[in-house]
């Protein structure tokens, strides 16, 4: 997995590429969790992600808790069908703000 990071319209966009599994979840954790110490909204765009396991869900749960604790907004976008299925089965879909693509997410997250 690789993680591309950029800032768009004042929103920090993290774009993990490939697979988030028990091997790579720590990389996502290290890239994502410190972002909630700053005020800029955070978008995790899954458009280049083919796979996520429960190890990746754990990291996103931690991120959602950090977001709630510090008030830095968190959004998710661009889920492929397998990734969306994992979010649905795990009941995680209702714990996050999820947009079909990064563009739609950015428009709302940037507006605050």
């Amino acid at each position: 997995m690789e993680i591309e990071t950029e800032t768009q319209a004042g929103v920090v966009v993290l774009r993990p590429k490939g697979r988030v599994d028990s091997n790579s979840a720590r990389e996502l954790e290290e890239a994502l969790l410190p972002r909630f110490d700053a005020p800029a909204p955070v978008l995790v765009d899954f458009s280049a992600l083919s796979y996520i396991s429960s190890a990746g869900l754990r990291v996103l749960l931690l991120a959602a808790r950090r977001s709630k604790a510090t008030g830095t907004a968190l959004g998710l976008s661009g889920m492929s069908e397998p990734v969306a299925e994992v979010f649905a089965i795990s009941g995680f879909a209702k714990l996050f703000r999820i947009w079909p693509d990064a563009e739609a997410a950015l428009a709302e997250l940037a507006a605050g």
Binding site: S22, N23, S53, S54, L61, P82, S90
Partner: protein, 138 residues
Amino acid sequence: MTALSLTLVNDLAEVGRLAEAVEAFCEANELPMGAAHALALSLDELLTNTISYGYEDGATGRIEVSITLAGGAATAVVRDDARPFDPTGAAAPDLDAALDDRAVGGLGIHLVQSMMDEVGYVRRDGVNEVTLVKRLDG
């Protein structure tokens, strides 16, 4: 090739190797994408669990994974010499819990139970044997 057989050690790096092998096998046999993903994810979750929690620190484990295609279904069997663990007896996590109360433990096994058509378990001669069946008829 309508069967896949792999022997792994108890190192999380093996999860990636398994994923590649399962993906290549599913592709070569033209399995439907949904079934291929369900198999890959389920095997990942089982292996991750076993490797993370099944062995004493420093112990060397041996895990055998096989997949066979027959009768319109893919059947995967995982055999390991880790401590006894029955995934069919694991309690489902509370999927409606609020953010602060959500537990991550048990989520992987819940994914396996949801994505597979059958999950079987037997402990014999000091070996856990988990059988997963995924029907391929859509």
